[in-house]
């Protein structure tokens, strides 16, 4: 999704958010990621005013007070954390681990195929279809991508073919490279 994203061209407008909308987003985030509760004040301080950057292809980025991108979403989809945020607080998103061979493909933006999640080096945490997941890798400490399950983990095991996780944001893509917005 962010493969061809470029900060300069892709962001069409930046808006200051009304405080009521901010509250709405906060509660939505907490609903989606209950484990975030302990640290949400670090990520999005209550007193801060956040902004939303509207981008091409119906992408919205949530910027915190310092202009860092913290969450993004596509159309009315769920808010997903950016990788930089996820590296700081890796615990609040469900993790799925792919095997070593899949890393290079994911790093060039490919969706994760089922066999990459079921082979010996991989490891899945049970989750429903449509869950936001962090894609980890065999032998690596940090997440390398963020995606959405297109099948439930049970189905992935059963079917073992085709796309299992749709990759939205991966290391070194346009969003990763984007600098904090002033």
């Amino acid at each position: 999704m962010f493969k061809k994203f470029e900060e300069k061209d892709s962001i069409s407008s930046i808006q200051q958010l009304k405080s009521s909308v901010q509250k709405g987003i906060r509660t939505k985030l907490l609903e989606a990621y209950p484990k975030l509760e302990t640290h949400i004040d670090l990520i999005l301080p209550k007193k801060d005013s956040y902004r939303i950057a509207k981008c091409h292809d119906h992408i919205e980025l949530l910027l915190n007070g310092t202009g860092e991108q913290v969450f993004f979403r596509h159309r009315d989809g769920p808010w997903m954390p950016t990788l930089r945020l996820l590296h700081k607080f890796p615990y609040f998103v469900t993790m799925q681990q792919v095997d070593k061979g899949a890393i290079r493909f994911v790093l060039s933006g490919a969706n994760v195929m089922c066999p990459g999640l079921t082979s010996p080096g991989a490891c899945m945490t049970p989750a429903e279809k449509g869950t936001v997941v962090a894609i980890m890798a065999e032998g690596k400490e940090h997440a390398l991508a963020i995606g959405l399950l297109t099948l439930s983990t049970e189905d992935i095991l059963k079917i073992n073919k085709g796309i299992g996780i749709e990759t939205y944001h991966f290391l070194n893509d346009g969003l990763w490279k984007a600098k904090p917005v002033k």
Partner: protein, 199 residues
């Protein structure tokens, strides 16, 4: 709608990742200065050698660890044969990232080009192009020129500043004074620009 894992499971996973050490958040991740990814992913970058160089310079300890691991792996591969390879699935295709050819910025000559055009019948404007190559903030520069020459000044298009009035000769003096990193030789007087000034 979002399925929640058992807390134990998450904990286990986190422990796996961080060696069961008490973790304080936010976690500080070391990012490579060359490829900007966490250093453990450098090996998947097209310019891995440059990453290594960077690592050796900035985090010598991690570099040594990496070297050790590589040596071990090489030894393991030769001793254990293809054992580790056989377990894994093979994948086809060209997954490796290619080095991108974005030398555009480097190739672009580092010079500031000044030119003049007319706007309307009797008004002159000065165009300054190429300041961006020196990593100068164009907006700040435009503002500076505006106050300096007491005239309108704006950033037009991508990398060009338009100053109202003919101030080319002054610019030759002002630019090196304001930004010492721009040598006087790098400022090019292009004379009359054929391009009509943007209206």
């Amino acid at each position: 709608m979002h399925a929640v894992n058992e807390p134990d499971e998450i904990k286990k996973k986190v422990e796996e990742c961080h060696g069961a050490v008490e973790v304080t958040y936010p976690i500080e991740v070391k990012y490579c200065g060359n490829c900007s990814m966490p250093i453990e992913y450098c090996e998947y970058y097209a310019e891995y050698d440059k990453c290594k160089e960077w690592l050796a310079k900035n985090y010598p300890e991690d570099y040594e660890k990496l070297m050790l691991r590589e040596v071990e792996e090489a030894a393991g591969a030769s001793a254990g044969g293809m054992d580790s390879d056989r377990k894994r699935q093979k994948r086809g295709g060209k997954g490796m990232l290619r080095a991108k050819k974005d030398n555009e910025d480097d190739n672009e000559l580092k010079c500031v080009r000044l030119s003049c055009t007319t706007r309307g019948k009797n008004k002159r404007v000065t165009l300054v192009a190429g300041l961006a190559a020196f990593k100068i903030d164009l907006r700040a520069a435009a503002k500076f020129f505006g106050t300096k020459f007491a005239c309108g000044s704006s950033v037009s298009g991508d990398k060009e500043i338009v100053i109202q009035g003919d101030v080319k000769d002054d610019l030759l003096e002002v630019i090196p004074d304001k930004w010492p990193e721009v040598p006087r030789d790098a400022i090019d007087d292009c004379g009359e620009s054929k391009k009509r000034g943007q209206s």
